[in-house]
Assembly symmetry: C2
Homo-oligomer: 194 residues x 2
């Protein structure tokens, strides 16, 4: 919930006027950009508060959700994954799935383990690796927390009709695609090796 910009967003007319002084400024683009970040922040905040009551952060929540597949195969569906393929186990896999560095994942697992939600176990065959497992307390948290969380999400989106939700997802998809085009993760390997 802490991430950004200003409390009060400029109105479109202000941006329009400002564009006189800043030729590179596209008022409607800036308006959409600011609203996207602002609303995202607000929604993130609501969801965060819902988690914070249980002393869980979004990062920790992601880890627990991913690990849940190990004990509840039906959870795989929630994550958009094939129920047959095994879920992530090692810190490296978890870091990848959560889009965090391995160093950050070490920290997350540290506190989750300290708080009893998770347990580390050494891999019997490759001694470099660890397996991370959900404890009963971790499972209990998820089963108690998720229904309420789903209700919060449902409430958040309740002002939008089904059609509006589809439209929103569609528009966000376009932006998302453009955003990932603007920062190629692997810098577009030239593919000219032979």
């Amino acid at each position: 919930m802490p991430f950004l910009l200003l409390k009060d967003l400029p109105r479109y007319e202000c941006l329009l006027e400002a564009a006189n002084d800043f030729p590179e400024l596209d008022p409607s683009a800036a308006e959409a950009y600011l609203h996207l970040l602002h609303t995202g922040d607000e929604v993130f905040g609501v969801s965060d508060r819902s988690l914070a009551g249980h002393n869980i952060s979004h990062g920790r929540f992601g880890v627990l959700m991913l690990l849940w597949r190990g004990v509840q195969p039906r959870a795989a569906k929630l994550l958009g994954a094939d129920a047959c393929t095994p879920g992530p186990r090692t810190p490296a896999e978890l870091a990848d799935a959560c889009k965090v560095t391995r160093a950050t994942m070490t920290g997350l697992i540290d506190t989750l383990e300290r708080d009893g939600y998770v347990k580390r176990e050494p891999d019997p065959v490759d001694r470099r690796m660890m397996s991370v497992l959900l404890t009963p307390k971790g499972v209990e948290f998820l089963t108690e927390f998720l229904p309420g969380h789903f209700k919060v999400i449902s409430a958040l989106m309740s002002p939008l009709s089904e059609a509006e939700r589809k439209t929103l997802v569609h528009l966000l998809g376009k932006i998302q695609q453009q955003a990932s085009r603007l920062h190629p993760k692997h810098e577009a390997v030239p593919a000219a090796t032979v």
Copy 2:
């Protein structure tokens, strides 16, 4: 850019299927929610990288923008403010405008001052207060950075038509309103004092 959830979003069909196991889950709401956070994160990341090249974070950027009004009244328009009213000056005002705590603002000003973008001056009349001022280096950063930043924003939103941008802002507005309804900042004072 670091804030959330999973790398791969579940597809709608998966959520639909998952709703069989979780009666509280509203698939279209969850889909919209996940896309909103994911896209917001992605867009935030692009913008963040654009700032990071200058060793500036979003928090620091917000402070610089707010202080800019002190030297460039035309900047007020960008912030949606009346050009006549003076901009924020003290750490407390800046913290309020940036939606961060005063403690956080102390930290931001500390590093901005250390890097030479900003200067603290004691208030001559109220000795509890400080005034924060932009240095020439701070002004230089903004004038050099903003045009490129505007271009990035423009590029991000380029896949959307004017009509689509309006629609997006409208839909986000509904969600934003609902979100602030779900976490009343001041817990809805009953207003029954007399």
